[in-house]
Amino acid sequence: MKDWRYWLAEQRGTLLAFGIFVVMFVIYTSNHPAGFTANVVQTASNKGVLLAFVAMAQTLVVITAGIDLSVGMIFTLTNCLASWLVVGTGIETAFGVLAVLGTGLLCGAINGAIVIYGRLQPIVATIATGAVYFGIALLLRPFPGGSVNEGLADALTGRLFGFVPASLVTLLAVVLVVWVPFSRSVLGRAAYAAGSSEMAAYMSGVPIRRGKFAAYALAGLLAAIGGLFLTFFTYTGDAAYASGNAYTLFSIAAVVLGGVSLFGGKGSAIGAIFGALAFRTIGDLLFVFDFDPLWQPLFQGVILLIAVSLGAFALFRVRNRLEWFL
């Protein structure tokens, strides 16, 4: 086989998610009253990147065969924090941004420490820390409010050169600065190896714990970038419980749509980004076809079920039934 065919096989999940997104987005814009205009793309992009950041965060943890049910709450907490700190002069705003990102990193690191060094199950540990993070968010913003440096907010949610959405450019920059180095570093490979077969990785002398810890910590950072963007988008902080939970669950959906295996060891954040964008487009599609918004959860559920079933076909090839349970 040629090299490109191996590459294709490896990127199959990502390409599939990309394909699903493109098809849905083309249908959406061609039926939109305004058509494929800079405005439509900008709005879609601003809505899409929020979930894309949270889905990237989820990907990092899912690769290690874990799951992070606190990403939505880190997203909410950093949103509330940003509505206090990302204000004032340029310097003050810059420190505010750093503080918000640092808080996300710390939240992720706490998750990682509990799961890896405390040996708790990721599901339980992150439900608990998620509740704590939300609790802090609620104390910060008992009621929606606050403000944000509007100049920065408008710049990052606006357009470059009149047609490129700035939020999309930021997403690309984050991919290049966070995801690409991580996925190509020794720690990133350790995270994949631990997710695929922790025992084999251990026997090969792979730094499993550091790899997993880095994955959890960076997940917190990415969720914080999402939270920051939410503040730029809404100009306020809001400790909304339902919204935080929805982002957690949608991030898992986006990850699965993006071809990342919930069993760990397989998939890429790029796939999860397209998964997130495709998932978001479902709502937009219902809008242009004049469906009642009440239909949205049902459609999202059906699409998710179909995507998950695609991954289950491998079970038909198993010849020793005990392998079903591994």
């Binding site: 191996y6 990785a201 026997m203 002398g205 295996s261 397989k266 005990l322």
Partner: protein
């Protein structure tokens, strides 16, 4: 042994697991530029020895010397750093990563802090070429490769780490004949390059071709070291036998005339590359043993009977009638009446956090319930019977089964199945890791069940048990039955010789696959 300076020495190494001693003051020295074969039967201590060498387990006592100075290894990574690389029997490859990723996994080449993929590719291609496996594409995912190719990747991975001492533990067992020839050429070249190789195999012809030096292990001790080729196969078998007999077995009945139709019969069972054309029969009242070295298809054979394997070819007959057994639930159904005592009671036999009572009645719930409601009184009666019959020692029926001793846990597993009064009982190495007293109770029980008319197929890695318990023993090698031993033929010598596939008194059978 000639005057060469040993590169690595182990002195007085001992290791115990609970009450079982795996190594007892073992000694070994390894010289550069030679291939050293380690021989021994199941449980002789070979695996523990190399695990100690490779930093997987820490010895209880003794010391290891590398280049004349004492060393200790806290982890496999530490042993690798010192130049000791082991190719384990259970593969150490990460399935979702590519071949190249796996080959460099311990120490990937880096550039600007990131993994240098071009360099990685080059290292992988070189290592694959050195291992004689250039046909494997470095970008292929390991999980997509067949077992024999994975084994070659494992060898390439070991070579990429530039070892000074390379340990191969049954490294050829999954290989095709063409691969074995290539691997041998590689090993001989490595020897000429000055590496020390430690070769563990049960294939006498391989050892004869490769080894310079041989060491035989028995009961956790090294009992003999000799230059290769100075002892005959029979002399080697002689060295390997001589286990301490400590168990008392119930008397075997005089062999009755075999019943016309066996309770359980297999005709030409084959499954992937693990079972080849296996035919056997077990009559009611008979205890038939499965022998051979560990991992020769015995477990797969039991799983095949129990309906776990898919894509099985051949025929299974119960009381002379062909049956299709599609699942464990079908196997335990009254029409077949089969029970399997699994090898790993913690994962396949018990729900550890649940109570003794719940665990006991799981397999029999359908018999104890009417319209889905469990008849608690009937359940209690049956449980009382079983606890009495097997003398299960427990503080109560409502404590978690995980709190019981290993021996009593195993009794619970057996009792659980006996509650269904099975006619065919498959046992997968049931006495592993349990105390001597419980073992003896199990031997008594097995014979008692056979006397009551059960057909018993009993796999054990302990030859002693096969000799003491079985009316007949079938010895498996490479997934095929190589020899059948009946009555007085079941001796340790015959078991070991046939397990190693040495045909000492037997004319050669033309059954090689």
């Amino acid at each position: 042994m000639d005057g060469a300076v040993p590169l690595f020495r182990m002195e007085g190494i001992s290791k115990r697991y609970g009450g079982v001693r795996a190594l007892e003051k073992a000694e070994l020295s390894v010289t550069p530029g030679s291939i050293h074969a380690i021989l021994g039967e199941n449980g002789a201590g070979k695996s523990t020895l190399i695990k100690v060498m490779a930093g997987v387990v820490a010895p209880d006592e003794g010391r290891m010397m590398l280049d004349g100075s004492e060393v200790t290894f806290a982890s496999p990574a530490a042993a690798n750093q010192a130049g000791i690389v082991c190719i384990f029997q259970e593969l150490s490859l990460v399935p979702e990563l590519s071949v190249a990723d796996n080959i460099v996994i311990s120490d990937p080449p880096k550039r600007f802090g990131m993994i240098d993929r071009k360099a990685q590719r080059r290292i992988a291609e070189e290592a694959l070429a050195r291992a004689g496996a250039s046909d494997i594409h470095p970008l292929a995912l390991v999980k997509d490769l067949p077992l024999s190719r994975r084994q070659m990747v494992e060898i390439a991975k070991a070579l990429a780490r530039k070892p000074r001492i390379l340990i191969l533990d049954e490294a050829t067992s999954a290989l095709t004949a063409a691969d074995v020839a290539r691997v041998f050429a590689v090993l001989k070249r490595l020897r000429s390059e000055g590496l020390a190789l430690l070769y563990i195999s049960h294939r006498m012809n391989e050892i004869a071709e490769l080894a310079d030096q041989c060491t035989v292990f028995r009961n956790g001790r090294n009992v003999a070291s000799y230059a290769a080729g100075t002892k005959s196969d029979n002399e080697v078998v002689e060295l390997m036998i001589g286990r301490e007999y400590s168990h008392i077995f119930p008397p075997k009945p005089a062999r009755a005339a075999a019943a016309a139709t066996p309770a359980l019969e297999a005709r030409s069972l084959s499954w992937t590359d693990r079972l080849h054309d296996v035919s056997l029969s077990v009559g009611a009242g008979e205890v038939v043993g499965l022998g051979g070295l560990d991992g020769q298809g015995q477990r797969e054979l039991l799983l095949a009977f129990f309906g776990v394997l898919r894509g099985l070819s051949g025929q299974i007959l119960i009381d002379g009638r062909p049956v299709a057994i599609a699942s464990p639930a079908a196997a335990r159904d009254d029409r077949i009446g089969m029970a399997l005592i699994p090898e790993d009671r913690k994962t396949e036999g018990l729900m550890l956090p649940m109570t003794v009572r719940e665990n006991l009645s799981f397999a029999a719930l359908d018999r104890l319930s009417r319209a889905g409601i469990i008849d608690r009184a009937a359940e209690q009666r049956l449980i009382d019977d079983m606890v009495g019959l097997l003398a299960i020692k427990t503080a109560g029926l409502d404590i978690p089964v995980g709190a019981l001793s290993g021996g009593n846990q195993q009794k619970v597993v057996i009792a659980k199945w006996l509650m269904r009064q099975p006619r065919i009982i498959l046992l997968n190495d049931p006495t592993r890791g349990i105390d001597v007293g419980t073992k003896q109770e199990l031997y008594q029980l097995m014979r008692k069940l056979a006397d009551q008319g059960a057909a018993i197929l009993f796999y054990s890695t302990d030859y002693d048990e096969l000799i003491g318990c079985c009316d007949r023993v079938l010895v498996l090698y490479d997934g095929a039955v190589k020899r059948e031993l009946v009555g007085a033929e079941i001796t340790e010598r015959a078991l070991i010789a046939s397990a190693l596939n040495i045909h000492e008194e037997m004319p050669k059978q033309g059954a090689d696959a």
